[in-house]
């Protein structure tokens, strides 16, 4: 059963959530929209197309301490990091929620990642259905849709009089304010997206592991980490100790398979030395290694990498190239 929240209802609702929880919402920063913890509801940018970074940073922050090392009289004590407050991520799109679900596959698999699990269970997702499809969007080809409520706790859909409130989970139910009217109107038709063919991308990837395609594609790749850092499903991380003025922490930070040091061992051996091998690692992980482990392709079709890549390495093009090359190879 759907409810209706007027714009004022929503603002009051968010305001009350803000009293008891951290609220992470889209905020306009320069020309970007970013998910940030807000202190006032007015900071929220309601009219945005897509955020520059996905909301994954709330669950896997760019940098976080895993634990602190304390020494008293030579006795070492490891103090685990805490998740102190409940939170709400507001305004994420269906593709973002799917990204979080894909991250769950890895981080919640036993032995689960404690901080991630804790944040995940203490955070509710109040999503926003997409008003329009952007030219870089292809979520419907990747198992999601502009109005897909899966993986959300509550999904809001903007209509003329406010927002349709679709309660998805029990967790979401507990958050809905009392006294919202029932919504009896029509649910707007979601925007249409161009479908891209994604058949057999996993087997295509496997078959083309040693294809010269990768070195050619890598020619123009800069090997920056932009695609990985804007991606809602890229979750590789680095762990190191950080000490400052006697305080020692074990810190985890984002890292990307595109950087040369990513898999360089202390002894100087790196399994992937060429640009092509590193770029192939990115797509192999998404299309082959991840599905081998967790069934789904590790891409949600949000289009962020398409938009952010400084040299236009377009994942949709890579998918269609892989399929074409496979067809050529199999001689059909």
């Amino acid at each position: 059963m759907n409810l209706l929240a007027s714009k004022d209802d929503l603002i009051r609702w968010l305001d009350s959530l803000l009293q008891e929880r951290i609220v992470i919402a889209p905020v306009r920063v320069q020309e970007q929209t970013m998910f940030q913890p807000i202190s006032k509801v007015e900071e929220i940018a309601f009219d945005f197309d897509n955020t520059t970074l996905s909301p994954k940073g709330w669950f896997l922050p760019p940098t976080e301490a895993l634990f602190t090392v304390q020494r008293d009289d030579g006795q070492v004590n490891l103090v685990p990091a805490l998740v102190e407050r409940d939170a709400v991520v507001f305004g994420l799109h269906p593709c973002d929620a799917r990204g979080i679900a894909l991250m769950d596959s890895s981080f919640l698999q036993e032995p689960s990642d404690a901080l991630y699990r804790e944040r995940r269970s203490r955070t509710a997702l109040i999503g926003l259905a997409c008003r329009q499809a952007l030219p870089e969007c292809f979520c419907t080809s990747m198992g999601s849709a502009p109005d897909d409520p899966s993986h959300m706790d509550i999904l809001l859909t903007e209509v003329k009089d406010g927002y349709i409130v679709q309660v998805v989970t029990e967790k979401g139910k507990a958050l809905v304010p009392k006294g919202l009217a029932k919504y009896k109107g029509k649910v707007p038709t979601p925007p249409k997206l161009q479908a891209i063919p994604t058949m057999e991308v996993t087997s295509a990837m496997r078959g083309l592991f040693n294809d010269p395609y990768w070195e050619r594609l890598a020619d123009r790749c800069l090997h920056c980490n932009v695609c990985a850092y804007v991606c809602p499903t890229c979750y590789c991380f680095d762990v190191r100790d950080y000490s400052d003025k006697g305080k020692v922490e074990r810190v985890r930070s984002w890292e990307s398979c595109q950087s040369p040091g990513f898999s360089l061992t202390a002894g100087g051996y790196a399994p992937r030395t060429t640009k092509g091998e590193r770029l192939r690692q990115r797509f192999s992980h998404k299309f082959l290694y991840f599905p081998e482990r967790f069934r789904d392709v590790a891409c949600v079709g949000c289009g962020r990498c398409v938009k952010a890549c400084p040299v236009n390495i377009d994942i949709r093009e890579v998918i269609s190239d892989l399929q074409q090359l496979t067809e050529v190879k199999s001689g059909s």
Binding site: S106, D241, R252
Partner: protein
């Protein structure tokens, strides 16, 4: 509330450190918690992540034998910041241990076979418990050939155990170095060339290799020339890893994670994805 994090190591005390070679130390480590110590089950080939607090964490093969729970042994070569900090620890100092992780050598499956063990430099470390386990159950195996190579005679690890190894029945230890010195009377040759020269038969045999990537690469080629099939060649791989849990996603060889699916692989399992065949 503090969640139970798999990233938090068990505290341990350094019991003893023995200088094996100019840059390799054997660390004997005791877990502080007696319950964890008693339940720390591991098998030859498994590894653990050692923490030098303030510097970081790195993976090391456990080189002691499984029944030895009060003194887990690790051979640590000084190569970077973490290994240097580990080597600088004094007996009594605290370090962290996470593990055991990964798979192990299925030594029971190798019973009744000829075993060829080929190690280069610090690569001998994970093979030491394999050798010692086979020697414990010597009758269950056929011939044992150990080829141990190092850059110089000084760099040969576990020299104090050589007499035990050579005295064991049906066991042959072949040492080789890249560069000899005045005292060295033995072989001066590269490991792959020694393999070629000794030409072990692939019949009913298993070859277990560990060493620097370049040694592994050329030794694999020689073994294949001798007629070894990819399922007769077993190796244990080193990879940079940050979690040991299959989450940081960097230690993969193709779709296999070294930390979870490995570190022990047959060549058959990974040849498709060997990035530098």
């Amino acid at each position: 509330m503090a969640p139970e994090s798999p990233f938090i190591p068990c505290l341990a005390t350094l019991k003893m450190a023995i200088q094996l070679t100019p840059d390799i130390k054997l660390l004997s480590v005791e877990l502080e918690d007696p319950d964890i110590r008693a339940s720390f089950d591991y098998k030859p080939g498994q590894f653990a992540l050692l923490s030098a607090f303030g510097e970081g964490e790195a993976p090391f093969g456990i080189v002691s034998l499984p029944q030895q729970r009060d003194g887990l042994e690790f051979a640590v070569r000084r190569i970077g910041t973490v290994t240097r900090a580990l080597q600088e620890l004094e007996p009594g100092d605290t370090l962290g241990v996470r593990g055991p992780f990964g798979n192990w050598f299925p030594l029971e499956d190798y019973e009744g076979k000829n075993i060829i063990i080929i190690g280069g430099g610090i690569g001998m470390a994970p093979l030491r418990p394999v050798i010692n386990r086979i020697l414990e159950r010597r009758d269950n195996y056929q011939e044992l050939l150990i080829i141990n190579g190092a850059r110089t005679p000084q760099d040969l690890v576990f020299q104090s155990e050589f007499p035990t190894w050579t005295k064991a029945p049906r066991t042959r230890l072949e040492l080789t170095v890249d560069r000899g010195d005045e005292q060295w009377k033995g072989r001066v040759a590269l490991v792959p060339d020694v393999v070629k020269e000794l030409a072990p038969s692939p019949d009913n045999a298993i070859a277990i290799i560990c060493g620097p990537p370049i040694m592994i690469r050329f030794t694999l080629a020689k073994l294949r020339n001798l007629g070894f099939k990819d399922n007769q060649i077993v190796t244990t791989l080193e990879a940079k890893m940050k979690c040991g849990l299959g989450k940081c996603a960097r230690c993969n060889i193709g779709e296999k994670y070294v930390c979870q699916d490995g570190p022990v692989f047959t060549l058959e399992q990974i040849s498709q994805f060997l990035e530098q065949p």
